[in-house]
């Protein structure tokens, strides 16, 4: 018997409305029913960021195949929450990488400002689309959106770590 796609509870974006957004929680209206305390999660945060599953506690409310098809107001509210849940500075420039006592000290400029952090040796992951995810010793991730467009120095630093 083939796989049963109905277990996915796919929602029709035109019938979903985000009413309210606060930190990581939403109030959602689906087919007229209102759910509060709903948390959105991306099943594929890197490879398909447009897919979102809504949870209330452990219970799945449903899944949006592409949340960008929501009405503009709902989309804006949802993105506000997603930005909190999937906070991830984008690296614009690598200033330096130094080896310090078995760790690497990074100084980078991100869209959120200049940051420095420590990483272990194997810390850069190359995503399928060529983006890079750098992970520090606390597990925090920093993303490099278009590594090939960085300045030469930054690229040299990064190539040391890949």
């Amino acid at each position: 018997m083939p796989l049963d796609l109905s277990t996915l509870k796919i929602l029709d974006p035109s019938r979903v409305k985000v009413l309210e957004a606060k930190l990581d929680e939403l109030t959602l209206e689906v087919d007229g029913a209102v759910y509060s305390g709903v948390r959105p999660r991306r099943p594929f945060p890197f490879s398909h960021p447009e897919i979102v599953i809504f949870y209330r506690g452990d219970e799945e409310v449903g899944m949006l195949r592409d949340y960008r098809k929501l009405d503009p107001r709902s989309r804006e509210l949802l993105e506000k929450v997603l930005k909190v849940i999937y906070f991830m500075p984008k690296v614009r420039k690598v200033l330096s990488i130094r080896s310090v006592e078995g760790k690497y000290e990074w100084r980078v400029v991100t869209d959120k400002g200049e940051v420095s952090f420590y990483s272990w040796g194997r810390c850069v992951r190359v995503l399928h689309d060529g983006r890079l995810v750098i992970r520090d010793i606390y597990g925090r991730a920093y993303i490099v959106e278009e590594p090939e467009k960085l300045d030469g120095r930054s690229r040299l630093y990064l190539s040391m770590m890949i």
Partner: protein, 744 residues
């Protein structure tokens, strides 16, 4: 006396002169010897005996014919293994007959003999076909024996980079030749320019020296470039050959070499071959060229002095040989002592709990001190030994160079030789020594190269034992599987499957149960054609498995192994292994079906989480569910599940089993399980014991039969009852577990 290790203990179709007289005497007219196996034991003493397989009989001979069994009476051949010895035994119509005893050193040879006999008597392979196969095999084996043959083969393998190899050798030789020029120019400078005060020659000589230096620099750069390129090219060529070969190998080979063994062959042996190739092969040409060029130069300058130059060579060659022979012992001892230290340290760290809880610290400290002392002594012995050899060799060289100066100086004083010539001669003399010793090294390294290359060819020459026919075709499976009288062994001694016959109808769901080691997993792998049976036939929808394209088969079957291994990739990628163009929805649906979705969504990166090497970042149960999701996404015609729920807790197991019941409907499914409750939805249960199918039927039928299945079932119930299921009421448990199989 044990025979030397190089002698071949198994000869296939030996020529008459290869047969010992006592064997010849035992043969009848027209009887053809298929195989001659030589034992290294007679009873419990070293000695030579023979087991002869002819086209009609099996004979055991030592001095006289001690056993004689007509092939027609043999039902199977097998080997029983003991600590050091093995016994070859034949099952006959009249019971088992032990034929010969040999040490484990001969196991491989006798294993081949057993396979040949079994192919004849169990597999019923026509004699002519077997003969053809064996003769073909012999041909390919002979070609890979000698060191020279291995080296020739290696060169064949490296053909694509032959121009590069040639260029490297050419440039390296050129460097040495150019290196010969400066001493000659010095001679000209001293004799023609300085002594005769010819100022007009000076610019030319200096210019020539400069040109030679420039050429040298250019050549050295080219040499460095070519060497680097060659090193990389050699390893890459070899490694990709071995790597590609890996995919051709069947799981049997993986089992035989072990993952570590294969690993070391890809990584270490390719590096070793590369190292020896650059250390032995290229320098061989360079050194040979140097010996010829420099030698010729020396002789033309002064033949008598050249004899003096040759003088220390025998001394030093002897010294070298002694050194090689003895040094290895000293160094081996040093290495042993070192590993003692390492093992004490590693015991202390790895078994810290043991050492501390038993209060063994003082003992370990004493052991450590002792091994340190021994290491120090061994180190000093190496020093002392080297001091005995090298000064003597050095002295021989000093003596010869002093003699050259003595006799050469006399010649110069008598005016029979120019000062420049003597100076140039001494320079060339030192240039002559190093390639001579280089050659000795090269020859030795060439032997080591042959060994390393031989290990590579062991892999490269393996014939894939799972093969498809050249005329194999793609087919759409309906799902019927049939195996008939299948025998299979991993190691040649123990048969994991002994004549298993099983028919599975399309869409039938079979439970495979039996004690550990009864052959369930082997049978499951065989049913997917991951192994080829040594004897017997395997058919899908009535078509012999070899007639079906491997690719088409793999597309339609899936297996989830016990303790599945995942790829170092994301969870989504691991699930999508089952289907190349899987959509995110399908991946989630498969994970939901395998009850993996919940735990995956709890991970911050959810399906995009990387699982680490072999899935190490997930627990055993999580890995099992991801692997199951991949198999379900593949939507295979035939699904084999080897203990799919073993790593799961009871609750999850129950949920997964429910889900499996639904997903396996209409799909040929074989489920191996220890927990019999997992098999509640199967149509038929096959019970295996000791490599054989012992019972078959539904749960109810088997319970009535009072056999192994019933015993297994009762043991599981008893375990549950004892665990305090009493609280629920013994009956309650019985009802719950007995009710389920009735679904089927």
């Amino acid at each position: 006396m044990p025979r030397s290790a190089d002698e071949e203990p198994l000869k296939l179709y030996p020529s008459p002169d290869e047969l010992p007289a006592q064997v010849k005497a035992a043969l009848k007219d027209g009887e053809e010897v298929v195989a001659l196996a030589v034992t290294d034991l007679v009873g419990s003493e070293y000695g030579e005996g023979y087991v002869v397989l002819t086209n009609s009989r099996v004979l055991a001979i030592n001095g006289k014919v001690s056993e004689e069994v007509p092939l027609a009476k043999v039902t199977a051949a097998s080997i029983r293994g003991y600590i050091n010895t093995c016994v070859l035994s034949l099952d006959t119509d009249e019971g088992p007959r032990s034929l010969a005893v040999f040490t484990r050193g001969r196991l491989e040879a006798f294993d081949k003999l057993v396979t040949i006999i079994n192919n004849l008597v169990i597999g019923k392979i026509p004699y002519n076909l077997l003969k053809e196969q064996l003769l073909n095999k012999m041909k390919s084996e002979q070609s890979r024996k000698s060191a020279r043959a291995v080296l020739v083969k290696l060169l064949g393998l490296l053909k694509p980079i032959a121009p590069l190899l040639a260029a490297t050798v050419a440039v390296a030789v050129a460097i040495r030749v150019v290196g010969l020029v400066p001493p000659y120019l010095m001679k000209v400078l001293v004799d023609e320019v300085l002594t005769k005060a010819r100022a007009d020659y000076l610019p030319y000589v200096i210019g020539a020296l400069l040109a030679v230096n420039l050429a040298n620099t250019a050549l050295n750069t080219a040499n460095a470039y070519l060497n680097t390129k060659l090193n990389v090219a050699v390893t890459n060529t070899l490694r990709s050959r071995v790597y590609r070969k890996l995919h051709e190998l069947s799981l049997t080979h993986y089992d035989r070499f072990g993952s570590g063994g294969l690993w070391s062959r890809i990584i270490d042996d390719t590096n070793r071959v590369q190292w020896f190739l650059t250390q032995a092969f290229t320098p061989l040409f360079i050194n040979a060229a140097m010996v010829v060029f420099v030698g010729a130069t020396l002789v033309t300058m002064d033949a008598w002095l050249t004899l003096i130059v040759l003088m220390p060579i025998p001394v030093s060659v002897t010294g070298n040989l002694i050194y090689r022979k003895t040094a290895s012992r000293y160094y081996h001892r040093l290495w042993r002592k070192w590993s003692r230290i390492v093992s004490v340290i590693s015991d202390t760290i790895n078994a810290a709990v043991l050492v501390k809880s038993f209060g063994k610290e003082p003992e370990f400290e004493r052991k450590f001190e002792q091994s340190q002392d021994e290491f120090e002594r061994a180190q000093m012995d190496v020093f002392k030994f080297e001091q005995r050899i090298w000064p003597a060799v050095g002295l021989a060289f000093t003596a010869s160079s002093l003699l050259v100066w003595w006799f050469g100086g006399k010649e110069v004083l008598k005016g029979r030789m120019s000062l420049g010539t003597l100076m140039a001669f001494t320079s060339y003399m030192w240039m002559f020594y190093s390639p001579v010793f280089g050659l000795i090294d090269n020859v030795r390294n060439l032997q080591l190269l042959a060994v390393a290359a031989g290990r590579l060819f062991e892999i490269l020459d393996l014939e894939p034992d799972v093969v498809e026919d050249p005329d194999a075709v793609d087919i759409e499976l309906k799902g019927a599987i049939e195996c008939e009288n299948v025998w299979f062994t991993y190691d040649g001694i123990h048969y994991a499957l002994k004549g298993v016959s099983l028919r599975v109808r399309p869409g039938e769901r079979i439970g495979l149960v039996g004690p550990s080691g009864s052959g369930k997993t082997t049978l499951a792998k065989l049913l997917l054609h991951l192994h080829d049976p040594q004897v017997g036939a395997l058919r899908y929808d009535g078509i012999d498995v070899r007639k079906i394209r491997m690719r088409s088969l793999k597309r339609q079957v899936a297996i989830v192994l016990q303790n599945p291994v995942l790829l170092d990739a994301t969870i989504a990628e691991n699930i999508a292994l089952g289907k190349e163009d899987a959509t995110p929805e399908e991946i989630i649906a498969a994970a939901k079906a395998a009850k993996a979705h919940e735990f995956i969504m709890r991970l911050p990166e959810a399906y995009d989480t990387e699982v680490g090497m072999q899935g190490s970042r997930l627990s055993g149960g999580e890995r099992a569910r991801v692997a199951l999701a991949a198999a379900l996404l593949k939507d295979p015609k035939i699904l084999v599940l080897d203990e799919p729920t073993a790593a799961l807790d009871a609750l999850t197991e129950d949920q997964v089993t429910e889900e499996l019941e639904r997903l396996t409907r209409g799909r040929t499914t074989i489920i191996i399980a220890h927990r019999l409750s997992t098999l509640r939805f199967t149509d038929r249960i096959v019970v295996m014991e000791n490599g054989r199918v012992v019972e078959e039927g539904t749960h109810e039928e088997l319970l009535k039969r009072d056999g192994l299945y019933k015993r297994l079932w009762e043991a599981q119930l008893k375990g549950l009852t004892r665990m305090g299921a009493v609280e629920v009421g013994e009956e309650g448990v019985r009802v719950e577990y007995a009710a389920r199989p009735q679904h089927a």
